[in-house]
């Protein structure tokens, strides 16, 4: 291959997987594997990726996968890590790969335990902001105002998205980062970097979902980018407590540009949009003070 590309060309994600058209979570996995390489074991709890990794005996990822029940991705990954290390393997990356439901909600106890013990794992949350695999129900990752099957009224979800990153940071992880598919170079770099750090690492990926967010499948990367450019999902990393904003946004776009493209926010009124704008402005101010 003569063409130079900005991310590695080696492909571990195999075509033929069962994701919906335009799935952000498949892009996330594609980039993650490019950063991690093949010496990796994935632990996948109940989530879309339970299906996307392939029905037995097929597999879409080219690395070992240990499926686990919903609540325990972090604990199962902990075990894989200890098992490998017990037999002298210090280098294989052990990655828990969970959705927002498995992270913000049912898996948070195991996640907190693993983070607290500084387990030698990389915990990844690909966050599509609802229980998408079971058919779009509200999770702790669902933002205020979003329609889901369990927040069906015009007002949508009542409560703001849980600040998971703050919760994780309170555990003093070795490394934590945010990422989203519109910035593949950033995501690949973060996985590569995380791979070479020992101890507990956490990567939070905002992963647009066409059927769950109700937009046309071609807008996945566009929405991923808009989430960053509107300041709704800042891209940063924290290494041993040192904060770094990786994608500075000089002039943030109005949040409405992100919200109005998605059917899940269709019934949201101007005051609610303004409230979200105010919240993002405040969060961004706080971020700028850290940077």
């Amino acid at each position: 291959m003569t063409v130079k590309t900005s991310i590695p060309q080696d492909e571990k994600l195999s075509a033929g997987h069962l994701a919906c058209q335009g799935c952000g979570a498949t892009l996330a996995m594609r980039y993650a594997l490019k950063g991690l390489g093949t010496d990796t074991v994935l632990v996948i709890p109940a989530c879309c990726w339970t299906i996307l990794a392939g029905p037995a005996p097929l597999m879409s990822v080219g690395v070992n996968v240990v499926h686990s029940p919903f609540a325990c991705a972090a604990a199962t990954a902990t075990g894989v890590s200890h098992g490998l290390r017990a037999r002298g393997n210090e280098k294989t990356a052990v990655v828990a790969w969970a959705g927002d439901g498995g992270t913000f909600d049912i898996g948070i106890q195991a996640l907190s335990g693993a983070a607290d013990r500084d387990e030698d794992i990389i915990y990844v949350c690909y966050d599509n902001e609802a229980y998408m695999n079971t058919g779009i129900q509200r999770s702790g990752g669902t933002p205020a105002g979003a329609w889901t099957m369990t927040t069906p009224g015009a007002a949508g979800a009542e409560r703001p998205k849980k600040d998971l990153d703050a919760i994780i940071e309170a555990h003093h992880p070795r490394y934590m980062a945010t990422a989203t598919p519109a910035y593949p170079e950033d995501m690949v770099r973060k996985f590569k970097k995380a791979r070479d750090i020992k101890g507990f690492r956490f990567i939070h990926i905002l992963s647009p979902c066409p059927p769950g967010w109700k937009y046309e499948s071609d807008e996945t990367v566009m929405l991923s980018r808009l989430a960053v450019q509107t300041g709704m999902f800042p891209i940063y990393e924290v290494e041993e407590g040192r904060f770094k904003l990786n994608v500075p946004v000089a002039k943030r776009k109005p949040v409405a540009e992100f919200l109005r493209r998605q059917g899940r926010f269709r019934t949201m009124g101007e005051p609610e949009v303004a409230a979200i704008q105010a919240r993002v402005d405040a969060a961004w101010d706080a971020l700028n003070k850290r940077a």
Binding site: M1, T2, V3, T5, S6, I7, Q9, E11, L13, S14, A15, G16, H17, L18, A19, Q21, G22, C23, G24, T26, L27, R30, G54, A56, P57, L58, M59, S60, G62, P181, P184, P210, E216, S217, D218, E219, T220, V221, M222
Partner: protein
Amino acid sequence: MPRLTEDPLKTPLIIAGGKPMSANKTGNWRSARPVIHEEKCTGCMICWKFCPEACVTIEGELPKIHMDWCKGCAVCVQECPVDAITLENEEAP
């Protein structure tokens, strides 16, 4: 109705597979197909980079979309910076 008569101890304990998913052709999910217009293509490989199916390959200087797997999500159409990819009706020649 049939009964299972094979010796169960000769059947597998688990099914742990590693056969690539590419055995599963997803091209028939598509209702519209992306077409690369080579005369416009600059070879920037953004379509390759953003393909959620990993079904765009780099062939020399140009990208190639593999229709056996392309689900027609059209992310490549949307992201192409020079509009070198168009979405065509699946039935069109």
